[in-house]
């Protein structure tokens, strides 16, 4: 493979010994399509010519599970990757957890994917054993060919027709990493040909015979409801077939193309009434700041006695951090296709949670779940927005109401102003130091509606500080909020890692040393109960220090460290900031990731880079405010997103490991805000306590 050298904004890849460089992608020598397919199990069918179809069960949002999940199956099946074609599975009882969320696809699918491949392999081996009248244990498999001790051979293609009906074996053997031929190799994206040539793949690309495009008006502000509408002008637009009120407060225009639907939608004369609070960011800020002084009814975590430790302290550091709402802005706006067919609801589109959609649609349509089919198209980004299938519900309702095939499409304006936003949040963090040790840590969260808390209070610094307390308070709002890539940690990590950086300097310690000391403390404090692995945290921290030249940098190079565990994966990052014409510029991010076995190294690196660029862009520029319930921006001319010239150099290293794989979709995002804030402090002398950073400081991405 061509390894590019680092030239300003370039790509550097660090591979461990277990991995190899990217294959020249798409040089797959595919067999032709077979005459017949034989279903071996829900994941695998095999053609008589040995071509293998593997179904990828989970929604594909750009995290490339459509490649890596089938790779795992293919490994245990013991076929050549070149003999595999991949198809997206629909929602089906044959699969578990068909969800894209929490960076869990590989981690939770690891066992079932391997079992599916190994079980199928055993069925094929047993079939050959039966044919040859030998013991199955005497046979070996190489690349889809079963071989006997006497040198007889049968291909999977030859065996498939009989294997299809074979008994499913209970005892199967899984490979160990030393025998992996596919896992750990860089394989090209299975959809690459379609992606570079513009073939239909995404939900918004669905084109079905007789399909109508639906575009809807939605309340312009949170806190408003539909009073009445006049569709006279809208109906006059050629190509418009109907206008329907649905979902109580929405009005959809149905037309024969998207443009006409958008145009006619704009001609609807709608009267809105205020039925709830019309909320503004200024009020949110006041309410949230006040909540930072409150203790929650039940602390989320309590070790020792923080108040006593604060009373006894030599030094107390207290800081407040603030971040706004964030819209998701998947580049493909929300959309979904639905139609009624023979009494069934057939739906398909970009959805991260097809099973949940099926449940809600059953409720809305009063159809049985068995009569609702949900297909998953490829998605132009998910980021958590497509967990909430309001768009799938709307399409289903419209399809049932009208009896037509409906392709519901959100405009960018609909998408940005009718979101399920990352909630605006604030953190107050305070720590006590006595005799050179951190003796207490108190984290208070104030956020709109609530954040996904779960086990996060048990992340670092739990276990490393004897007295610790976590309180959370929420301000109820009618603005819809929800999961946004690395929920909760996408802002908390920056606050926390920025705080520890400042704390270290107050203690006159190297921030690297402070981290390592705290991790060492946690190692011997296991009974306190916490949810990260201090040993692995130490591993990524030491490696990132080495790879980034921490402590050896030139005077005009400013480094910032951040170490974070989220979604079961440990990541350490060092940001490098330099001065360009007096303005700080984020030049490079070095990232070290411990996610256990890396399934597809080149693709894994892509995820780490993506999380970093995403994290930087939103930390620097993401600003979203409300005025009287109305979103302050609704397109990219008023909402700034990171561009190519602002993306830094990124260097990624994976810790060599044979531990079971953990996820990569989210983990590299949380640490990067803190890394750049800490580096920027060293460059400017100014700490950043509010996101977006660019409101506080001029920064060059």
């Amino acid at each position: 493979m061509k390894l590019t050298s680092a030239m300003g904004g370039g790509l550097i890849l660090g591979f461990n010994l277990l991995t190899s460089c990217a294959e020249p992608v798409n040089k797959i020598v595919a067999k032709a399509l077979p005459e017949n397919w034989y279903d071996i199990n829900t994941f695998i069918k095999i053609g008589e010519n040995g071509l293998v179809t593997i179904y990828s069960p989970n929604p594909e949002i750009g995290q490339n599970v459509k490649t890596s999940m089938p790779m795992i199956v293919a490994e245990e099946l013991d076929v050549k990757w070149e003999d595999v074609i991949v198809e997206q599975a629909p929602l089906s009882e044959g699969f578990t957890r068909q969800v894209a969320g929490g960076s869990q696809s590989i981690r939770k699918g690891w066992d079932s994917l391997r079992n599916a491949g190994a079980t199928a392999k055993q069925m094929l081996v047993n079939t050959a054993a039966k044919k040859w009248e030998v013991d199955a244990g005497s046979l070996t498999v190489i690349d889809g060919v079963v071989i006997s001790k006497t040198g007889q051979e049968l291909t999977y293609g030859e065996l498939a027709v009989d294997a299809a009906g074979a008994e499913v074996p209970k005892d199967i053997t899984l490979k160990t990493p030393k025998d992996y031929k596919i896992i750990g190799q860089s394989k090209g994206n299975v959809d690459i040909d379609k992606l570079v040539s513009g073939q239909p793949l995404f939900g918004i690309d669905t084109r079905e015979e007789g399909m109508l495009y639906a575009a809807a008006v939605r309340p312009p502000s949170f806190g408003m409801a539909l009073e009445s509408f006049d569709d006279t002008a809208a109906r006059k637009v050629p190509g418009v077939s109907d206008v329907i009120q649905y979902a109580t407060n929405k009005v959809a225009v149905l037309a024969n193309n998207t443009w006409t639907a958008f145009k006619a939608k704009a001609l609807l004369e709608v009267k809105w009434k205020t039925t709830g609070k019309l909320e503004s960011t200024a009020d949110h800020d006041k309410a949230l700041l006040a909540l930072l002084d409150k203790k929650s009814a039940e602390p989320r975590r309590k070790d020792g006695n923080v108040e006593k430790a604060f009373a006894d302290a030599d030094m107390v550091l207290e800081r407040t951090y603030e971040a706004p709402f964030l819209p998701h802005n998947c580049l493909e706006p929300m959309n979904f296709f639905a139609t009624m067919k023979d009494g069934k609801l057939i739906g398909k589109g970009p959805i991260q949670t097809p099973a949940w959609a099926q449940t809600r649609i059953a409720d809305i349509t009063k159809l049985a779940k068995e009569d609702i089919e949900i297909g998953m198209t490829r998605m132009g980004g998910g980021f958590g927005r497509r967990l909430y299938g309001d768009f799938s519900d709307e399409a289903a309702e419209l399809a049932q109401k009208t009896g037509k095939s409906i392709q519901l499409v959100f405009s960018r304006e609909d998408d940005m102003s009718s979101g399920t936003y990352r909630p605006a949040s604030k953190y107050k963090i305070r720590a006590a130091v006595k005799d050179g040790e951190v003796t207490a840590y108190h984290l208070t969260e104030a956020c709109i509606n609530g954040n996904m808390f779960d086990s996060i209070p048990n992340y670092f610094p739990a276990g490393s500080i004897d007295n610790m307390r976590v309180d959370t308070n929420a301000e109820k709002s009618n603005i819809t909020t929800g999961a946004w890539r690395a929920p909760y940690t996408n802002f908390l990590a920056y606050a926390e890692q920025s705080f520890f950086d400042e704390l270290a300097l107050e203690m006159e310690k190297d921030p690297l040393d402070l981290r390592l000391e705290l991790f060492e403390k946690a190692k011997v404090n296991k009974e306190s109960g916490y949810e990260y692995d201090p040993e692995r945290a130490i591993g990524v921290t030491k490696m990132v220090a080495e790879k980034s030249g921490w402590g050896k940098q030139a005077d005009d190079v400013h480094l910032g460290l951040s170490v974070y565990f989220s979604h079961n994966t440990h990541v350490a990052e060092v940001a490098e900031v330099v001065s360009v014409d007096g303005v700080p510029k984020i030049k490079k991010i070095t990232a070290v990731v411990d996610c256990g076995i890396v399934i597809n190294p080149y693709a894994a690196t892509n995820q780490i880079e993506g999380g970093i660029i995403d994290g930087i862009g939103h930390a620097l520029y993401g600003d979203f405010q409300f005025e009287n319930g109305r979103a302050g921006a609704d397109n990219f001319n008023t909402y700034r997103m990171i561009r190519m010239n602002e993306a830094p150099e990124i260097e990624v290293h994976f810790v060599p490991s044979e531990l079971s794989p953990t996820g990569l979709g989210e983990p590299s995002l949380p640490p990067v805000g803190g890394a750049i804030a800490n580096a920027l402090f060293r460059a400017t002398g100014k700490r950043l306590y509010k996101q977006p950073f660019v409101n506080e400081n001029e920064v060059l991405g």
Partner: protein, 150 residues
């Protein structure tokens, strides 16, 4: 509705659409050529980039009535075998994550390389600044473009 004859990827297509319909929607909905994508509708994201006589334009902001007889090139027709050096580079560098922006990225880069076969880093950055990638594949896009530039 007025009729237009559009030359797309060296083939003439006759369409009967509103004069203000942007080329993007003529391509996607009237002709079913969905490679050109909708991201914002106001020429801020670049997902709809096509070529008019070899130069990059945002199809969302080009009303069909102004196209005339200019040659339109879309991602589907950039290369008849989909082996344009940039498409090959995209495969080699395994560029896409979700992939939604990539047709626009490739088309924009192709137009740049037509004008300048060896762009500097700064020229690449400037030319590609209008193409958003929400997933953050910018470093790979740049590496792919540089691998093709002479």
């Amino acid at each position: 509705m007025p009729n237009y004859t559009l030359n797309i990827n060296n083939t003439n297509h006759d369409v009967s659409v509103d004069q203000d319909m942007p080329l993007l929607w003529v391509l996607r909905d009237t002709l079913g050529m969905v490679g050109t994508k909708y991201g914002c509708g106001i020429a801020q994201c670049g997902a709809c980039t096509v070529h008019l006589n070899g130069g990059a334009v945002r199809a969302c902001s080009v009303p069909v009535s102004v196209v005339g007889d200019k040659k339109i090139t879309t991602i589907e027709g950039l290369d008849k075998d989909h082996m344009h050096p940039l498409q090959e580079a995209w495969r080699e560098f395994d560029v896409p994550q979700c992939g939604y922006c990539q047709a626009g990225q490739i088309m924009n880069a192709a137009a740049l390389l037509k004008k300048k076969s060896s762009p500097s880093d700064e020229e690449i950055d400037n030319a590609m600044a209008g193409n958003l990638c929400r997933c953050g594949t910018y470093t790979r896009i740049k590496a792919a473009i540089k691998s093709v530039s002479k």
